[in-house]
Amino acid sequence: MAVQGVEQTILRDPALFYWILFPITVVMILTGILRHYATVLMNTPPKSPSTLAESRERHALLRGVNLRNHAFAVLDREAFEARKNYLLSGYRSGAFLKDPNNRGQPPANPMTDPQGMEAMMGMLKGNMMMMIPQTLIMSWINAFFSGFVILKLPFPLTIRFKSMLQSGVMTRDLDVRWVSSLSWYFLNLMGLQSVFGFILGSDNAANQMAQQMGMANPAAMMNPMQPGQDPDKLFLAEAENLEVTEHFCILDGVEERVLQNFATA
């Protein structure tokens, strides 16, 4: 164990800084930026519906949710019942489905359904974008710089940080303040987010920019349904929710409320 109160000194070659610490940091930042632009390039915007019926299928569910959540602010009992009955019969009979004839059949396998395939490819691409550079850089560091102690932190730390700061250096007695090259890589990997935010603009704005213009109407692009989900089941569940909704209206007594508000104000 390190003797308490005695400063551990290790003589380091200053070249360690120029040839390991600095290159790792630069490489990490550059890959981060490169990855960002690669993601932007390969990102496919969410597909907008191609037919009117498909668009209706997407939005029909939202209509039920809206009615459930907002009816109390607008509708009187009569209007609410009329809308409820319309939506209930629509959900139950499958009138809102893209293809009412296909009702009851199991949903298409996402592996064969081209649309599901596309969504899965998107996810895969995103994951690959993270995985490949990380594997490469880590093996690069492992091959060339493993075992180097390159940095001394200016503040003391408890023994628990040893595994975090000194991975790749198997020395039990080394003070926790010394940081190994592999650990420096991990610290960079986790901690550079704010640097990227600074360089690329907050929240990687370039990423969303191209899509924003495409969305004349954000509601039209929204797809509440995940690929592989059966809209019919969602509709039936929504119909059940709708059926148990109790009607009340905040417009009842609004006159007195307004008078009271202004009397006290």
Binding site: S50, N66, H70, M213, A219
Partner: protein, 314 residues
């Protein structure tokens, strides 16, 4: 928010549109598209900037500065490509605005039909088509096209408001009320739509047939809700005064609250005096700060007239 509201607001808001369009040269001054250079990184490539250019395009079209409008359109085209749906919609708007005569407008319509036959869910073009049909005075066609749009996208509050406006222009009050209610279901806190619905109900209540007392009662309720949501909304107070005095005149009020939608006479009297007092306050404060409220001057004048009318009658 609401199409119909926006049009009315814009109608009186020519002043600010003019101001904006006069800035066209400065905003478009550093224009990479015109000089033939690819969009450089020096000009900020942000959503706000392009939103601003879109606004400028609309303002220029309204003030007759077609040249600047075309420059704006070029710039959007340059950045987003001609096949972008929103850019297509804006280009359609530009062509409509610069069309010389009816045949030119008809040609625009044919163009829209062609685009829609390729991609039936091109929302901006669908909306342009409705607007064009309306300006060609083919209201029933416009209604049909809008219903088709709403059938596919029933969660678009703007479209519901526009449909309500179209129905009202055809004298179909009940349908218009339904549409505004749908719009409110999507955006329940928009006080302007509440007030608009109140106006519609008031108009329907004034017509002889139908369940007038109930409609008038609901109208008062919606005006109240509008005021509750925004306590210096001029149209809300204006409507509240009209609707409550209408109910008092026709003696719809009852002495004890048996039906929920119809308030008692005492409440109505109180509401009316509250409305008159608040409207007076608003008119006074806004007349002082005239320049700031320049865009809604016509509303102010109408409010003053209403107040004078009630002062005389008392």
């Amino acid at each position: 928010m609401a199409f119909a509201e926006a049009r009315e607001a814009n109608g009186s808001d020519l002043i600010s549109a003019l101001h904006l369009s006069q800035q066209a040269p400065t905003i478009l001054g550093h224009d990479p598209a015109n000089t033939g250079v690819a969009p450089s990184t020096s000009s900020a490539d942000t959503a706000e900037e392009y939103g601003q250019i879109e606004q400028l395009l609309l303002a220029c079209l309204r003030t007759g500065d077609d040249k600047s409008a075309h420059a704006c359109l070029d710039r959007l085209n340059h950045r987003f490509g001609a096949s972008n749906e929103r850019v297509m919609g804006l280009r359609g708007l530009y062509q409509e605005a610069t069309a010389k005569d009816q045949p030119a407008l008809k040609k625009c319509l044919e163009e829209y039909e062609r685009i829609l036959s390729e991609n039936p869910v091109n929302v901006p073009i669908m909306k342009r088509k409705v607007a064009l049909l309306r300006s060609l005075n083919r209201s029933s066609d416009a209604i049909a096209a809008l219903i088709q749009l709403l059938d596919a996208i029933p969660t678009d509050p703007e479209a519901w408001c526009e449909l309500a406006d179209l129905y009202q222009s055809q004298g179909l009050g009940a349908q218009a009320i339904f549409c505004l209610e749908e719009s409110l279901l999507i955006a329940p806190n928009s006080w302007n739509v509440h007030a608009r619905l109140g106006e519609l109900l008031y108009v329907c209540a004034s017509s002889p047939d139908g369940d007038a007392p109930r409609l008038a009662g609901k109208s008062v309720q919606h005006f109240c809700r509008s005021i509750e949501l925004c306590d210096d909304y001029l149209r809300g107070y204006y409507g509240l005064i009209l609707a409550s005095s209408h109910m008092l005149e026709k003696d719809y009020a009852h002495d004890r609250p048996s039906e929920a939608a119809i308030p008692s006479k005492k409440t109505l009297v109180q509401l009316k005096s509250l409305g008159l007092q608040k409207l007076g306050d608003i008119v006074r404060s806004r007349s002082v700060d005239d320049q700031h409220w320049a865009s809604s001057r016509s509303e102010l004048i109408a409010a003053k007239e209403l107040l004078n009318r009630f002062e005389k009658s008392q």
